[in-house]
C-alpha cells in the first residue's frame, strides 16, 4: 500500500469518528480553538481547515447551538450540543459501541489467524 492510499484510508476512517468526538466534547460549550485543543489533548489530531467547517456544518444541521461571547477582550463563537444533537449523540454512541465490539472481535480473529500461520 502506498503512503497516499494510507492517508486516504485514514481520512475515510476518521471522518465518521470525528463527528462523534466533536459531538461528545460539545456537551460543554467550546469555541473553535479550545475544541481543537481538547481533541488534541484527547489524542485526536485534526487540522483547523477540517474542524472549523465541520463544526459549522453540524450547527447548520441544528445539532449544535451557538452564540458569540466576549472574553479576554475578543469575541468568540461558542458551540454546544442542542437537544437534537444530544439525542443523536446517544444513538451514535450506542452504534459506535456495537461497532467497536464487533470490530474488536473481527480484528482479534484476524490477529489469531496470523499468529497460527506464523
Amino acid at each position: 500500500m502506498t503512503s497516499s492510499q494510507l492517508v486516504k484510508m485514514r481520512l475515510e476512517l476518521r471522518r465518521g469518528v470525528l463527528v462523534l468526538a466533536v459531538l461528545g466534547l460539545l456537551k460543554q460549550p467550546h469555541y473553535g480553538y479550545s475544541l481543537r485543543k481538547q481533541l488534541q489533548d484527547g489524542g485526536i489530531d485534526i487540522d483547523e481547515g477540517t474542524l472549523y467547517p465541520l463544526v459549522r456544518r453540524l450547527a447548520e444541521q441544528g445539532l449544535l447551538d451557538s452564540e458569540w461571547r466576549q472574553a479576554e477582550g475578543r469575541e468568540r463563537r461558542y458551540y454546544q450540543l442542542s437537544s437534537s444533537g444530544a439525542e443523536l449523540l446517544s444513538q451514535l454512541t450506542e452504534e459506535w459501541q456495537q461497532l467497536n465490539g464487533a470490530l474488536a472481535f473481527l480484528l482479534g480473529q484476524v490477529t489469531d489467524e496470523n499468529t497460527e500461520e506464523n
Binding site: 480553538y33 487540522d47 483547523e48 481547515g49 472549523y52 467547517p53 459549522r56 468568540r76 463563537r77
Partner: protein, 316 residues
Amino acid sequence: MELVDRYIAAVQRELPEDKRQEISRELKANICDQLDALAEQGELSESQIAAVLKQMGHPAQVAWQFVPPSPIVANEDISLFKYTLYMVLGVLFVLQVIGGATQWLGASEGSLLGFLLHIVHGFIGDACFAFTVIVLSFWSFSIQGKSISAGCSKDWQPQQLPKVAPSWQHIRFSDVFSDLATYLFLLMVIWSSVWMSAEQLAARSVIFSVNVQQLLQWFSPIILLSILNSFWQLRRQVWTETLLLTNMGINLAYALFLVFLAFNSPLLQVQGSDLNGLFTVQQLDKWLSHALLVTALFPSYECIRDLLRWRKLIAS
C-alpha cells in the same frame, strides 16, 4: 495582523456573498486564538504567522470546506443525464443529416465534402446549445437539492429487471441513430422529386435512370420498415429473438437489393448539359455499380452477425 487580514480577505473572495461576513468573522476569531496561544511563548514574527496561515490551508480550499461546491448534476441523476444527452444528441444528428441532405440535393454544384462539413458544423453548433440547455436544466434541480430520478429509485421491483444478457445484447444508441440518419437520407434522395422545386431538379446534371428511380421507389417500404425497426430498437434497447430476426430480414433485403441494383445498368443518366468534361456518365455508372457492391457487404455482414447471435440466443 496584516497577513491575517489579507488571508481572511482571500477566503472571503471565494465565499458566497451571504456567508462572507459570518464565516470570516469566525475564522478570524479562531486564527487569533491560535496566534495568541503561540504568542504566550514569545513575540510572533511574520514568518511564524505565515506558517500558521499556511497550515490552515489555501484560502480557496478553506472556503470550499466551509461551503462545499454543489455538483452541477446530482450524483443520483448522472445516468439519467447521460441518457438524456445521448437521446437529444442522436435526434439532433438525424435532423442535421436531413437538413444537410436537403441543402446538398438542392444545390446545383453541391460537393460531398461540403455536405459532410455542413453536417459536422451544424451538429457541433446544435450539440453545444443542447448540451448547455440539458446541463442547466439538471443544474436547476441540483441547486434546489432535488433529484430528478429519486422517484424511480424507490418503486423498482427485482422481478422487473431484465434477464442477464451478454454485452453484445445491449443495443447502442449511437448505432440506432446512425442507422436512422442513413435511412432518412436515403428516403430524401429517392423522393427528391417530391420535395424539390422544378428549378432545383432541372439544375442537376446527373440523375438516376428511370429504371433505377422506379426500383428505388419500390424499395421505399423496406426503408420505412427499417425506420420503424430502429424505433423499436430504441424502445427495447436489448436484442431479442424477434428483433434479431427482423433486423436479419431487413439487412438481407438491403444486401440483395444493392447487388440487384449494381447489375441494373444504366444507373445514371445525364440531364441537359454534359459533365464539364471531367468524367463520362459511363465512368460514373461503373464506379457507382462497384460502390453498391461494396456497400452490400455491410448489410451482409450484419445479416451473418445477427444469424450467429440469434443462434446463440436460442441455444441459451
